[in-house]
C-alpha cells in the first residue's frame, strides 16, 4: 500500500537519524581538519620537539610524541590532509570513470558492454596491494601516482556497480520513451540514467572511500605513500607501531583516526536519508 505524503520535508526524505548525523559530523570534522590543518597544528609537522620518544599525552603535547619525538597532534592533523585528500581524490576519480563507463556500457550495449566488462573483470582479478607494489616499484611513489593507482584499482568495481544499476534504469519505460523520442546517448545518460542511480552510487562512493582509506594505510604499511616528513595516518601507524606494546598515543591515535573516519562513513551510509538510499522510488 502506498501512502502519499505531501509536505516538502517528507517529499524529499532528507530526514536522517542520530547515528547518521553523528557519522556526518565526524566526517565533516575531519574534512575541516584536513583543510585547516596547517593553521591549527601547534608545531611544524617535521620538527623534533621532544628528546624523549613515544612520549605520553601531556599539556605540551596533547597527543604525545612519535618515534623521533615529533608532536603527534600536529602529525595527525596534517595526516588528515593526506588520508582524506588522497582517498577522496582517488575515489572521485575511480567513481567518475567507473560510473561513466558503466552507464555508457549499459546504454550502448552491443559489443562494447561485454568487451569492457571482461577487460575490467580481468583487471579486477589482480590483487590490489600487489598492483600497488608493482606500480610504485616502477614509477616511484608520489601523490599523483597513488591517486592514479588507487583509482585504476577501484574503477572496475565502481563500473560493475554502476553498470548493474544503469541496466535496471535503462529498462525503464521513461528511458524507452526518451529513446523513442530520438534522444542521443549523452542526453539519455546525463538526464535519464544518472539522476536515478546517483543515490546508490553515492553510497557506493562512501564504501569505496572506506576501502581506499584502508588500502592506502595498507600501502603505507608496506612502505609506500606520501613524502616525509608528512605522513598519512596509515604511515603514522606504521612508523610508530613499535610502541603498540606500551600503548603509546603515537600509534593509538592515528589508528583511532582511521577507524573514526571509516566507521563514520559507514554510519553515514547505513543511515543515509531514504531519498538517497533508495534506488529510484
Amino acid at each position: 500500500m502506498t501512502i502519499t505524503n505531501p509536505g516538502r520535508k517528507g517529499r524529499f526524505g532528507w530526514h536522517m537519524n542520530a547515528v547518521g548525523i553523528i557519522g556526518a559530523a565526524i566526517i565533516l570534522f575531519w574534512m575541516v581538519v584536513a583543510i585547516a590543518a596547517p593553521w591549527i597544528s601547534p608545531y611544524p609537522v617535521g620538527k623534533i620537539v621532544d628528546f624523549d620518544y613515544y612520549g605520553p599525552m601531556s599539556s605540551q603535547f596533547w597527543l604525545g610524541t612519535d618515534y623521533l619525538g615529533r608532536d603527534m597532534l600536529s602529525r595527525v592533523l596534517m595526516g588528515a590532509r593526506y588520508t582524506v585528500g588522497i582517498s577522496l581524490a582517488a575515489v572521485t576519480l575511480a567513481c567518475f570513470v567507473g560510473v561513466t563507463l558503466g552507464m555508457i556500457a549499459a546504454v550502448i550495449g552491443g559489443w562494447f558492454d561485454p568487451v569492457l566488462s571482461r577487460f575490467l573483470d580481468a583487471l579486477n582479478s589482480i590483487p590490489s596491494l600487489m598492483f600497488g607494489l608493482v606500480v610504485v616499484a616502477s614509477v616511484g611513489s608520489s601523490m599523483t601516482v597513488l591517486v592514479l593507482t588507487i583509482a585504476v584499482l577501484y574503477a572496475p568495481g565502481s563500473y560493475r556497480f554502476a553498470r548493474a544499476l544503469a541496466v535496471n534504469v535503462n529498462a525503464m519505460d521513461f528511458v524507452t520513451v526518451a529513446r523513442a523520442r530520438g534522444e542521443g546517448t549523452i542526453y539519455t545518460i546525463r538526464e535519464e540514467i544518472f539522476p536515478n542511480i546517483i543515490g546508490p552510487v553515492l553510497a557506493d562512493f562512501g564504501l569505496r572511500f572506506v576501502f581506499i582509506v584502508l588500502l592506502l594505510s595498507g600501502l603505507s604499511f608496506l612502505g609506500l605513500g606520501v613524502q616525509p616528513p608528512n605522513a598519512d595516518w596509515g604511515a603514522l601507524v606504521r612508523e610508530n607501531i613499535g610502541s603498540l606494546s606500551f600503548g603509546a598515543p603515537a600509534v593509538i591515535v592515528p589508528s583511532i583516526a582511521i577507524a573514526s573516519l571509516t566507521i563514520s562513513v559507514n554510519m553515514l551510509i547505513d543511515n543515509l536519508p531514504r531519498r538517497i538510499r533508495d534506488r529510484s522510488d
Partner: protein
Amino acid sequence: MGKIIEIRDLRVEAKTDSGRVVEIIKGVDLSVADGEIVALIGESGSGKTTIALTLLGHTRPGCAITGGEVVVAGRDTVTMSEAQKRALRGTEVAYVPQSAAAAFNPSKTIMDQVVEVAKIHHLMPLPEARKKAVELFKALALPEPETIGQRYPHQVSGGQLQRLSAAMALIGDPKVMVFDEPTTALDVTTQIEVLRAFKSVMRERGMAGIYVSHDLAVVAQIADRIVVLKGGEVQEVGTAETIINQPTHSYTKALIEAFHPKGRDPDARPESAEPQPILKVSGLTAGYGAVGSDGLPKFVILKDIDLELERGRSLGVIGESGSGKSTLARVIAGLLPAAKGSVAMDGVSLGQRTKDRSKEELRKLQIVFQLADTALNPNKPVGAIVARPLAFYHGMGGREREAEVDRLLDMVRLPKALRHRLPSELSGGQKQRINFARALAARPELILCDEITSALDTVVAAAILELLDELQRELGLTYMFISHDLSTVEAVCDRVAVMYRGEKVEEMPTSRMQSGAEHPYSKLLIASVPKLDTGWLDGLHQNPAISEGMNRA
C-alpha cells in the same frame, strides 16, 4: 447462522517513510456468517487487503492495529500471542494471494509448498497430506493432478498456480478463506477457469470467505455480500444483487457507472479526408534474440502482421499476455527492428530504428506506456518532463516553453501548480495524464497507447479514457490502443484487431465486437469478459464460444 467473522471498530495505523503516522483503517465493522462469501471492494489504498490480513493476525511491516477487535471463530486475533497466531494461520484461516506466481517459493516443488501447512501444524502424516493435495488438485480441475505437484512453480501456468495456491490454502481445512485479488493478474480467459474452480470448491465445502477485489464484475460472480470500501471506511454494504442493481452510495454508483462504457458511435467521426492511411503496417515479422540463418530472430513474437490505421480514428489491439501486442507497438515506434515487413507513415516507409528516422517522423509518432510509474523519470519535476519534447522537437525555450507547458497541463485537465511536483507525489491518474501530456507536447499525429489504463482504478481509468476521446476530437489525433481490457477498447476505438500468439486473427469494427466476431479465439476472448451480472459465471457453460474456445486452448 453463526458469525464466523466479526470485525468491530478496527483501526490500523501505518507509518510513512518520513515517520508520519497515518490511520489507514478508520473504524471498520464487518461480519461474515458461516458459509458466506463477503467481498471487499474498493480502489487501491482503500484498505481492503489490510482488513483481510488482520483476519490472519497479520499486518504488513510498518502497520499496526491500534484498536478494535477481529474475532475469527470466536477468538480475537488482535490480542493473540505470536504462537497463537501461528496456530491460527493455515488451519483456521487460509490465504489465497493476489499473485500466485510470486507467492510460490521458486526453489521448492509445488507439492512441498502445498503440504507445508500440514507439516507445520502436524495435521496429518506427509503421505496422507500428499494424497489429500492430489484430491484437491482434482477438485480444482488441475491437469495431471498426480504429477503436477512435482513441478516447480515456474513450470506451470499462472492460472494453474492460482488454483494451486487455493489447494495450498485448503489443505488445512480452514474455516475461513481469504482471497486477495486472486484473479487480477490473470488473463480473462484464464480468470474464468479459476473463478469457477474457487466457486465450486467453496460451495461444496460450505466455507466462509472474504474475497478482496477491485473488480465489481468478478465479485458479483462469487460473493454473497459486497462491502464497498474507500479511504479505510465502509461506504456501503449489501447483497451482491443490491449493490449492482441499486447502489445507494455515490462512490458505488461511480464504480458501476465506470463499468458501463458509453460505447462509441463510429459515424460521429468525420470521414477521413485522406484516402491514404496514416499508418500502414505490412507483413511485419519481429522478435528477440540472435538472428538465425533464415533471417528470423530466435524468438519470433510477431508473425506477418498487416494493419492500416486511418487518420483521426482509433484502432484497438487486443489479446492476452504474450500475444505480441506490445511488441507490435515497439516495432512501430522503432524501438525494435523488424525482421521482415515494413511500417509506413503517410505512405512513407519508416526507418527500422529511431536513429534511422528523421526528427519529424519521430515527432509525429509518439508512444505512451502502460505504467506511468516507470514511464516518468522519478527525479524530474513534472514541468521538466513535459517541457523536454518542446525543447527537443520544437526548440522552444524560456517563457514560450513555460506557457506551452501550462497549456498542456491544462489540456490534460491538471492544475498548473503541479509542474513543480515530482512524479512520486502524484496519484496514478495524474501520472498517466502527465505521461499523455508529454506525448502531446510533441504535437503528434499518431499516439501508440500501450495499456495505458490497465494499472488504474476503474473510476480513474474511465476519466482518462474520456480525456483521450475529447483530445482526439479536438486535435484530430489518431490512436492505436493496445489493451487486454475489452471494455476499454470498446470505449475509445473504432475498430479492433485481435492478436493471438503473434498473429492478427481478426479485425472488425468495435460495434460488431459482441456479435460479429468470427474467429473462435476472438469469440472466447470476448465472451470471457465478466459481466456485471451475478448469474454470468454460472450461465457460462451454455455459451458455445467459451466451451469451444476452452477446448481449443
